[in-house]
């Protein structure tokens, strides 16, 4: 029948007419073809070639910069892109091509359809070059002393030491190659694949001990990590989902490090052997999504399940022939850790002024690694007790509710409450509960001023008591491990901006945080972090940018200990104070065709360790590091295509570190050290290059 249907249609249609949904309908008003639009469909970019000169290859300076020596270097860069009207494109970038920090990248594809990339990067991490070792075979898994090496009781009793010492560089090189493909299917689907291989080789330092004697050894690094990331995403009008797989496979070419024992020690172990980091693999599947059914309500979340596995065959419990074979309960660990991480956030505008947010999270590390007892052999010297391994697991869950309220057009206030529960296995504490609160005020009292003040409180309490583990020798029963202990955290943040004009602005950022481990008599008892940053920037027009900043940070930690295995009888304070200031100017068209720039920074770090113990009020020598660095450049454009550039770098660095300064290999009776020294240099570097633009 027609008449009853009309009765439905009329009110339905009237509802639609008054519905704001109709007001928000987009107009279809595609503009006409644009003749004034300066589209660029030709390849463009630049190639650059030049020479660099480095005065001195000090590791602290060359660290990450790609220099492996001093002197002259050829260097180059390239940046080319070609984009076509139909959306196809390709680009090629290369930077520092003549240095050990070189990088290159190729990107190509068609916008909105497919994208492909290939990236390559090298990174050099130079640590020390004044190091010495008495061992040969550096870079291998076997470090040997000379055939006629005479072992001694202490480092002072090694007659062959001076002759045997040779200089070695401690450095790591990392090479990363990654490639990926992304393509879109229609308006909704996208698929993404990425593969990265990360290769490291080099040497770093580690201690190899025999009870109360040790030698600092050059440990070889030779490993490779393969990472796979695949994902598929679906984008709808009001929601989106993404399913992603991540796989990471670590492969260590080194299984162990064996070294000759330079000392005479009880038990007479001729050599020692330490296990290298085992091969491991991690696989994870993650589903993430977001929805926004209305402009006033949205949510997003993810859930990720993963598994870590490691089944590297064990090396023997000892290689000391006088101890004989020591049985193992299994041939490999067969370790398995299952992870689950889930987070959800909901945000909604309850009214035009009030925004509410609710967040929840769950983070689980479920360690299913088998537990067995392993006969310990103390540093290859003596049979010791059976020890059970502890496969640590934890569950962390919680949430936060917060509200933001627009008090006025210029002032917002916020408040929130959060709760977290953490549960542990094999540790001194079964669980902790943390309550957190915050209050925040953001205000713009004038057009030129913004101010933000945030107060935060966090109280963590142990649930069920602190039970020291049964180990020998035991821990002081008054010790509280700070990551598990009762803790009160207070934090205040004040930040602001003042816009003196459209060209000149000032900023302030300050934080004070205090962690009070209120029930800890032994261990970390309190920590404080204070930071203030002031900065200003000036940019009157496109041709001039200038900035200046100052930062002060103080990090203080208080630790208490007991030599009498009872109440605290010594106290220490570690105080790091860092002051930094810097600035820069970039000026274009200072004179026609000339651009000049300067950046400089000065960082002054001072670390003070004070001990109040049997000898009261002792202060160890200060740890000092001063770094002043500046870069000055000028670029002159001869024409639209050609420009020449001159760069000058100067860096002054002076470090004083009593832990290593003046420490010859035989300074300590018990440890054959590696002769590290703190860097102290003033280095100049100059670069000149020509750039051709097209």
């Amino acid at each position: 029948m027609v008449a009853p249907r009309l009765h439905w249609i009329l009110p339905f249609g009237a509802a639609l007419i008054v519905s704001p949904a109709s007001v928000m309908a987009e107009s279809d008003n595609t503009a006409e073809e644009c003749e004034a639009c300066a589209f660029e469909w030709e390849p463009r970019g630049y190639v650059e070639a030049g020479i660099l000169w480095l005065e001195e290859d000090e590791p602290e300076f060359t660290d990450y910069r790609g220099f492996d020596r001093d002197g002259l270097f050829l260097n180059g860069a390239i940046d080319v892109i070609d984009r076509d009207e139909d959306g196809t494109y390709w680009s090629l970038q290369g930077r520092n091509l003549g240095l050990g920090s070189r990088s290159a990248a190729i990107h190509a594809g068609k916008q909105g359809t497919v994208n492909y990339f290939l990236d390559y990067q090298e990174l050099n991490h130079n640590l020390y070059d004044s190091t010495k070792t008495a061992f040969s075979g550096v870079g291998s898994e076997r470090l040997e002393l000379s055939a006629n090496w005479v072992r001694g009781d202490t480092t002072k009793d090694l007659p062959d030491l001076d002759l045997a010492l040779r200089e070695i560089d401690i450095e790591l090189e990392r090479r990363t190659l990654s490639t990926g493909l992304q393509f879109f299917q229609g308006e909704n689907w996208d698929y993404d694949f990425q593969y990265t291989v990360d290769e490291r080789d080099g040497t770093r330092l580690m201690g190899g001990s025999f009870l109360l004697r040790s030698a600092i050894l050059p440990e070889p690094v030779d490993d490779i990590t393969h990472r796979f990331d695949l994902s598929v995403g679906y984008l709808a009008k009001l929601w989106q989902l993404r399913l992603a797989y991540h796989g990471s496979f670590f492969d260590n070419d080194n299984k162990s490090l064996t070294w000759d024992n330079p000392f005479v020690v009880p038990g007479d172990a001729p050599r020692g052997r330490s296990a290298a980091a085992p091969d491991n693999r991690f696989n994870r599947l993650m589903l993430s999504g977001a929805f926004r059914p209305t402009r006033w309500f949205s949510g997003s979340g993810h859930i990720a399940v993963g598994r870590l596995e490691q089944d590297e065959s064990f090396i023997p419990a000892t290689i000391n022939p006088s101890l004989g074979p020591v049985g193992l309960p299994r041939q490999d660990l067969d370790a398995e850790v299952n992870t689950l991480n889930a987070r959800l956030r909901l945000t909604g505008n309850a009214t035009r002024r009030l925004t509410l947010k609710a967040e929840g999270f769950f983070d689980e590390r479920d360690n299913d690694t088998p537990v067995d007892s392993y006969r310990q052999v103390g540093t290859d010297l003596f049979l010791a007790e059976l020890r059970e391994n502890r496969p640590y697991s934890f569950d962390k869950s919680g949430g936060e509710l917060s509200a933001d309220y627009r008090l006025t057009n210029t002032t917002d206030i916020s408040a929130g409450y959060g709760r977290e529960r953490s549960e542990f296995t094999f540790q001194e504490v079964d669980a902790t509960d943390t309550d957190s609160y915050f209050g925040e005020l953001q205000t713009r009292p004038g057009e030129r001023i913004e101010l933000r003040v945030r107060l935060g409180w966090e109280d963590r309490d142990i649930d069920g008591g602190y039970d020291p583990l049964t180990i020998a020798p035991p821990e002081n029963p008054l010790l509280r491990k700070f990551n598990l202990a009762d803790r009160d955290r207070r934090e205040i943040k004040i930040s602001g901006n003042y816009y003196a004009s459209a060209q000149l602005s000032f900023g302030l950022n300050s934080v004070y945080a205090n962690d009070d481990y209120r029930n800890s008599s032994i261990g970390l008892t309190e920590a404080r972090d204070t930071m203030v940053t002031l900065d200003a920037s000036y940019s009157p027009d496109q041709s001039l940018n200038a900035y200046v900043y100052f930062t002060h940070q103080s990090i203080v930690s208080d630790i208490a200990g007991s030599e009498s295995f009872g109440r605290p009888d010594w106290f220490a304070e570690n105080d790091d104070t860092i002051n930094a200031f810097g600035g820069g100017v970039q000026a274009r068209e200072v004179v026609p065709h000339l651009e000049l720039g300067v950046d400089l920074s000065y960082t002054r770090s001072r670390g003070t360790i004070s001990i109040n113990s049997r000898t009261p009020d002792q202060e160890l020598p200060k740890l000092e590091a001063d770094r002043f660095s500046t870069r000055i450049y000028g670029e002159y454009s001869l024409s639209d295509r050609w420009s020449y550039r001159l760069d000058y770098w100067l860096e002054y660095y002076d470090q004083e570190d009593f832990f290593i300064d003046g420490l010859a290999p035989d300074t300590s009776d018990n440890v054959l050290t590696a002769n590290r020294e703190s860097p102290d240099y003033l280095i100049h570097a100059v670069g000149i290059s020509a750039r051709y633009r097209f």
Partner: protein, 324 residues
């Protein structure tokens, strides 16, 4: 015969249904759609699009805009891009009012979005970007710290340049440092990640568009972020060091530190924060332990790690005390 009462009852459900539809439309469209304060009722686009805008905003303009034609935004062949739709007005909003001929002494009305005295709110301007750029990386923008603090897309991104600095790895940290100067300064300390040379970008670890964890990290957990590059620390090991799988920042300060290996403190005090076993772990180390005195290995050199070198865990059967 039809009773009047029956007819009234028959209309009620339809009226209720119509009311529900109106309310749903209200929330779907948003109350803001009817608000007057943004003055966007009946906005009009220009007739000629970019031709109109470029008549004033050309190479000689106060604010350079032409470099946008070198960017992916200006590819008409890609139907998703602004220049395949309403060109400049796709992002800046309908500009007929802004571009119209003015009467004597009349002030030019501002453009709705992304200009001096723009009419639309920051959130609405962000929405313009998010309409297209909402996939994947921007999935968790809502409710994240940058969104809550009112950070606008244009606070970090520049659209009218051939290369947006924040998308260039070696320049990204300079953009972040505008607000996070203290973090940039930390990268100048004695020990740091290779941020200040551009070999590592902030976005290698962080997701500035928002993520679900407090530090807006890309990975689900902090440790997963570290293991991306430091997989040798991941284990699982036969003998684990409990604070390691819990949280790397128990001991490390990832942005920079006055101590080697980005440590918050040096051994022995770092270790004595958690260890006070009878014997050498509980002894205080003083100036008597320096090279001029006892030259104690418990203080100088690597201190505790002179012997206990496998602090991240050991897979050696006899490695329970992390010495092998």
């Amino acid at each position: 015969m039809i009773r009047i009462g029956d007819q009234k009852q028959g209309y009620r459900p339809r009226l209720i249904l119509a009311g529900v539809i109106v309310l749903f439309g209200w929330f779907s469209g948003g109350i803001e759609g009817m608000a007057q304060d943004e003055a966007d009722s009946t906005p009009e686009y220009t007739e000629k699009g970019a031709e109109t805008c470029l008549a004033c905003h050309d190479e000689s303009g106060e604010v350079p805009v032409m470099d946008i034609f070198k960017t992916p935004h200006a590819v008409p062949g890609d139907a998703r891009t602004p220049f395949a739709k309403n060109q400049c007005e796709s992002c800046h909003g309908p500009g007929a009012d802004h571009a119209k001929r003015l009467r004597f002494n009349q002030e030019r009305p501002p453009i709705p979005a992304f200009g001096d005295s723009a009419l639309w709110s920051g959130e609405k301007q962000n929405g313009i970007c998010l309409d297209c750029h909402q996939r994947n990386q921007r999935m968790h923008w809502d409710g994240g710290p940058h969104q809550r603090q009112g950070v606008a897309c244009v606070d970090c991104h520049q659209v009218h340049v051939s290369e947006d600095p924040v998308t260039v790895s070696r320049q990204e940290a300079n953009v972040c440092a505008d607000c996070h100067r203290n973090v940039q300064v930390q990268s100048h300390q004695m020990s740091s990640h290779p941020i200040r040379f551009g070999d590592m970008a902030c976005s290698d670890c962080h997701q500035p568009h928002g993520s679900l964890n407090p530090a807006i990290l890309k990975e689900p957990t902090l440790n997963d972020s570290c293991y991306s590059c430091h997989a040798e620390k991941r284990g699982p090991f036969l003998w684990e060091h409990a604070p390691v799988p819990d949280d790397c920042t128990n001991c490390h300060s990832p942005h920079g530190s006055n101590h080697p290996a980005l440590l918050k403190q040096r051994p022995p005090l770092l270790c004595q924060s958690c260890h006070s076993r009878a014997g050498h772990p509980s002894i205080s180390r003083t100036s008597n332990d320096l090279p001029g005195g006892r030259a104690s290995p418990f203080l100088i050199g690597g201190s505790c790690v002179n012997c206990h070198s496998k602090v991240h865990g050991s897979n050696h059967p006899s490695g329970a005390n992390l010495s092998r």
